[in-house]
């Protein structure tokens, strides 16, 4: 798992570390310690609920802060009381051991007071919470995208012409237009997963046999990171996802590109890769227009589905979004892609023998064949409309 691309946040952190080392030379140990703690505590990575962007996420953030402030206020009150008790009422050496402190058995008024004050605070909190619960579960009039979780990646399907049949099927990256409240129909094809892109909204479980509605939106274009948060077995830690938010224009262009079926390549290496794909990959993977035998599910996987690869190269990541598909300079991350095909279970824990995850092809495919296969994959669409910054 070598070539994870460093994000701007991390670069910023490195910059901060640099300025901090100058500071430390000047101010010595304590500020250094303080600075490190401060920077580290502020440093947030790609998954970042503390920086809400979507409307729902902002609404949640507001109510979360309110509850946090209330909890902090009560916490400070209790802490102060405990500290006063410890300092003021501790036994002192000159206390007469036969002298008892005043024996108070209780005080109805006091107890009533500290029963009623929390009741009032909590009623207030409930009054704020309950309408928000209903707000967040309502549907918008925006378009609907089908979300399917399976071990250990996400599938997103778009019914562009609204005829009840999915026209675009993609994996790991949900592409949405900016400024629109998108409805999600969240499902699962095996165990329970949880869909979470924290900057856009809270999480919602994907439960097999059920369809759960949820909404996401972002007012601005950008890439937002998410992951599965309901324990879903062996590779739960490696089931990530991205939301790629595009401007209206870019989004229409993306849709048009996705609707275009794939064709048979003509260049020799790519053609050889195409043939290899037909021999080794089609029992699970679909490429619209050329290899569609697995489109209605297949028996080689418990979930029945492997990622649709028709426009693989329009994505920024692969294998449950744990590997970058492109290097920082914009070239394809061939090394990881090849290694993934050669020995997927070595790159991401899976149980292929139990029909969970992609099997290893280390014994089946030669190095040249792997090269051809990668060459073919690189012909599948691209480049992505938006690259990670």
């Amino acid at each position: 798992m070598s070539a994870r691309i460093r994000t701007s946040t991390e670069v910023n952190i490195r910059k901060m570390h640099k300025s901090q080392s100058v500071m430390s030379r000047l101010l010595r140990l304590i500020p250094l310690l303080f600075g490190t703690v401060l920077i580290a505590s502020c440093a947030s990575g790609r998954i970042d609920p503390t920086d809400p962007v979507g409307e729902n996420a902002k609404q949640i953030d507001g109510i979360m802060r309110l509850s946090g402030y209330m909890a902090t206020a009560v916490g400070i009150f209790v802490a102060a009381a405990v500290i006063i008790v410890i300092v003021k009422f501790r036994e002192r050496p000159d206390d007469d051991p036969n002298e008892l402190p005043e024996q108070i058995h209780g005080n109805r008024k006091a107890e009533l007071t500290w029963t009623l004050i929390p009741v009032v605070m909590l009623v207030f909190l409930a009054i704020v919470t309950i309408p928000t619960v209903f707000d967040l579960s309502s549907k918008s009039d925006g378009r609907t995208i089908k979300v399917e979780g399976q071990q250990w990646w996400w599938q997103f399907s778009y019914d562009v012409d609204e005829d009840g049949v999915s026209d675009i099927v993609t994996a790991n990256e949900i592409v949405i237009p900016a400024g629109e409240e998108i409805n999600l129909d969240i499902r699962s094809n095996d165990v329970i997963h949880s869909f979470w892109i924290p900057q856009l909204n809270g999480k919602r479980d994907a439960v097999p046999g059920r369809v759960h509605s949820w909404r996401i939106s972002s007012p601005v274009p950008g890439i937002f990171y998410g992951e599965c948060t309901e324990f879903c077995g062996l590779s739960h830690a490696n089931m990530q996802m991205r939301a790629v938010v595009l401007s209206d224009e870019d989004y229409s262009q993306w849709v048009q590109e996705q609707l275009t079926p794939s064709t048979i390549p003509t260049a020799a290496a790519a053609k050889s890769g195409y043939d290899l794909f037909g021999r080794h990959c089609v029992s699970c993977h679909v490429v619209n227009g050329v290899y569609e035998s697995a489109a209605d599910g297949n028996a080689n996987l418990t979930s029945g589905y492997a990622p649709n690869l028709t426009h693989l190269m329009t994505r920024t990541s692969f294998a449950g979004s744990i590997f970058e598909l492109y290097e920082e300079d914009g070239s394809v991350n061939i090394a990881d892609l090849k290694e993934w095909i050669r020995n997927a279970p070595g790159q991401k824990p899976a149980r292929a023998e139990n029909r969970q995850g992609m099997p290893s092809f280390a014994e089946t495919l030669s190095d040249n064949e792997l090269d051809d296969l990668v060459t073919y994959l690189m012909t599948l669409g691209g480049p992505p409309p938006l690259m990670p910054s």
């Binding site: 946040t9 580290a40 503390t50 209790v78 329970i192």
Partner: protein, 668 residues
């Protein structure tokens, strides 16, 4: 008055020096050596064994925790594979809940409750031993999975359908389902026993509202267990049937709804949280008044709010399922009920602070642990209120913010309280105090390590670090706090090593005579367990005290003078019972441990080969038969005129207070 096991008349054997009471085996008679422990039915020995076994599992679960922290010390940790990580976090949770905190509470319940209510033993002594041994075998069975192909890998919450054979093909989840089933029987047996004991065997005059708060909380917990365990029993049976006999309770393809498991698990699982915390609430309700030298502020309010928590605990389970897709009505309702369970809990916290307010606080080790419960639990409680705000919970659930929350509740709350109880009742159980200065080292190292471990989890949790992930990336920005957390976990280990050193050193010192034997009442206690010698004599009470007050023993020591001012009128150690009687006690028995050993055999057979179950079943039926033929009290072990005594209420107390009890109106 006491409901004890009746001796069947028909089986009365002729008294002879060799006649076996069961026909097949002579009864165990050893008063010393390991047999005195293994075959005992004495609630005190059983309590101590519960504690010792639980501390062993605490070490085990702690090692699992340290492995988890070693893996997460750095991004892309390589200490564990994903498979090992999943098994270890599953078993860390399962172990700490079912094999550590529950049995530690059972240890205190068994040891202390009979002493606090003036009983000679629990109502059903052999059933008590049975509960202990079922728990021991259940824990061993659960962990046997490590040696037979790997531990359970579905999380302690075991959400279907991930726990089905399709997704968890190993035997781990079978061990989980059957192991918890066995451990559940232990708790159920214990619960019935303690409920009967508390309702029937209280000393004369001890009305329910004169009962010590610890006993009260244990009473509430046993009622919770009695009603919660059947629910998980059902859930585990469904899971076992799915896994073993291809049933379809959680098979989505056949129309099952996996949320069934979640509802069943959490209807058990949320009362379980109160099962874990209320015993500690009871413990600090004993220690805070003693070391503040003031009565508990609002005894009845604390008791009633404890009962209210127990009751309301049944109406909040779905707050574990705010993102499961309940629909807004369900979410809003459970959000509100969850908020309001904070009220009785908050009342307790403030009443404890009011208990200390104006007191004369002695900072003994049990007092320090008790105060840390009050403050650390408060933090966990407040973050709990934050989760009750369902929309906020959609960002928090399944992140480390939740992990921080429940460790503040269960470690900062339950365990701190249990440590307070250990230091507090240690002299009653063993005759000497644990070393106070080592105890303070233990306390401070633990407190620092605890906050270093679980405090930063709030931060990484809010930053979005998900639970149950075997790795995080360097790009996630979680490195710094995870390193701090892992260092904190190892500081907790150091604290626990200090505790172990303390136990061993004081024990050796006591044997060598350098650690003094404590008198009956070393802490100036308030409840009647301090009116009998340290360590507790085998028969507990020479005579049954007659109870006239809450904190009855304290009122025997302090009484108002002519100006109405409370004065010490007697020294607790002088008015304590001498412990020199030799009444007849329930006899030890082989059957509890033999019967208990049948259960893991039956379970093992369900996984591997039904013939093993058959052997286990025969053993089970055989030992039930033997048990039922065996008189509760060995007729050969009689002691003269008291040979038929079963409970302490048979022993006449000095004077005739018995008749006055009714006239002395209880002040509650």
């Amino acid at each position: 008055m006491a409901i004890t096991e009746e001796r069947p008349e028909i089986l009365e054997l002729e008294s002879g020096d060799t006649s076996p009471s069961t026909g097949a085996f002579a009864r165990p008679t050893n008063a010393s050596g390991w047999r005195a422990w293994v075959f005992t039915v004495d609630h005190k020995k059983i309590g101590i064994m519960y504690g010792a076994v639980a501390m062993f599992w605490f070490l085990w679960g702690g090692i699992e925790a340290l492995l988890i922290r070693a893996q997460l010390f750095t991004p892309d940790g390589t200490v564990l594979t994903a498979e090992q990580y999943n098994q270890i976090f599953t078993m860390h949770g399962t172990t700490m809940v079912f094999l550590v905190i529950m049995p530690l509470a059972a240890a205190f319940a068994n040891y202390v409750v009979p002493l606090q209510i003036g009983a000679r033993d629990v109502a059903f002594p052999r059933m008590n031993a049975l509960g202990l041994w079922i728990f021991v075998f259940g824990g061993l069975f659960l962990n046997l999975s490590w040696f037979l192909g790997g531990g359970p890998d579905g999380g302690w919450f075991a959400y279907a359908p991930n726990t089905g054979v399709t997704f968890s093909p190993g035997a781990g989840m079978d061990f989980y389902a059957l192991g918890l089933q066995i451990a559940g029987i232990a708790s159920l047996v214990g619960a019935i026993n303690l409920i009967v004991t508390i309702l029937n065997m209280r000393a004369p005059g001890m009305t329910l509202l004169r009962m010590p708060v610890f006993t009260w909380m244990i009473f509430v917990v046993q009622l919770l267990l009695l009603f919660a365990l059947p629910v998980i029993t059902v859930a585990l049976i469904l899971l076992s049937f799915d896994r073993t006999f291809d049933a379809n309770f959680f098979n989505v393809a056949m129309g099952a709804d996996p949320l069934l498991w979640q509802h069943l698990f959490w209807i058990f699982g949320h009362p379980e949280v109160y099962i874990l915390i209320l015993p500690s609430f009871g413990i600090v309700s004993e220690t805070l008044p003693v070391f503040s030298r003031k009565p508990l502020f609002g005894y009845s309010v604390i008791v009633i709010s404890g009962a209210a928590i127990g009751f309301m605990g049944w109406g909040v389970w779905a707050h574990h399922m705010f993102v499961s897709g309940l629909g807004p009505v369900g979410v809003a309702a459970f959000s509100a009920t969850t908020m309001f369970i904070a009220v009785p809990t908050g009342v307790k916290i403030l009443n404890w602070i009011a208990t200390m307010w104006g007191g004369n606080l002695k900072f003994t080790v049990p007092m320090m642990f008790s105060i840390s419960l009050v403050s650390m639990f408060t933090i966990g409680g407040l973050s709990g209120v934050m989760h009750s705000v369902a929309p906020a919970d959609t960002q928090q659930t399944d992140t480390y913010f939740i992990v921080a929350h429940f460790h503040y509740v269960l470690f900062g709350g339950a365990l701190m309280g249990l440590f307070a109880g250990m230091y507090y009742w240690w002299p009653k159980a063993f005759g000497y105090k644990l070393n106070e200065s080592l105890g303070k080292w233990h306390f401070w190292i633990l407190l620092v390590g605890f906050n270093m471990t679980f405090g930063p989890m709030h931060i990484v949790g809010l930053q979005g670090m998900a639970r149950r992930h075997s790795r995080y990336g360097p790009e996630d920005g979680f490195d710094f706090w995870n390193a701090v957390v892992s260092i904190g976990a190892f500081i907790i280990l150091i604290g626990m090593i200090v505790f172990a050193v303390n136990i061993v050193r004081t024990w050796l010192g006591y044997k060598a005579g350098t650690v003094p034997q404590e008198p009956a009442d070393p802490w100036d206690g308030r409840t009647i367990e301090w009116a009998i010698p340290c360590p507790t004599p085998e028969h507990n009470f020479d005579y049954v005290p007659v109870i006239t007050d809450v904190d009855d023993f304290w009122h025997k020591k302090y009484q108002p003078d002519e100006n109405g001012k409370l004065r010490k009128v007697a020294d607790g150690n002088e008015i304590a019972q001498r412990g020199d009687q030799n009444p007849h006690l329930p006899s030890p028995s082989y059957w509890p441990i033999v019967l208990a050993s049948a259960l893991p055999l039956i379970a093992l057979g369900l996984i591997y080969n039904l013939w093993i179950s058959g052997v286990g079943l025969l053993l089970l039926l055989g030992s039930m038969y033997g048990w039922s033929l065996e008189p509760a009290t060995d007729p050969d072990a009689g002691h003269g005129e008291h040979a038929d005594d079963h409970g302490p209420d048979d022993v006449d107390p000095p004077g005739d207070e018995d008749s006055e009890v009714a006239e002395e109106a209880p002040v509650v």
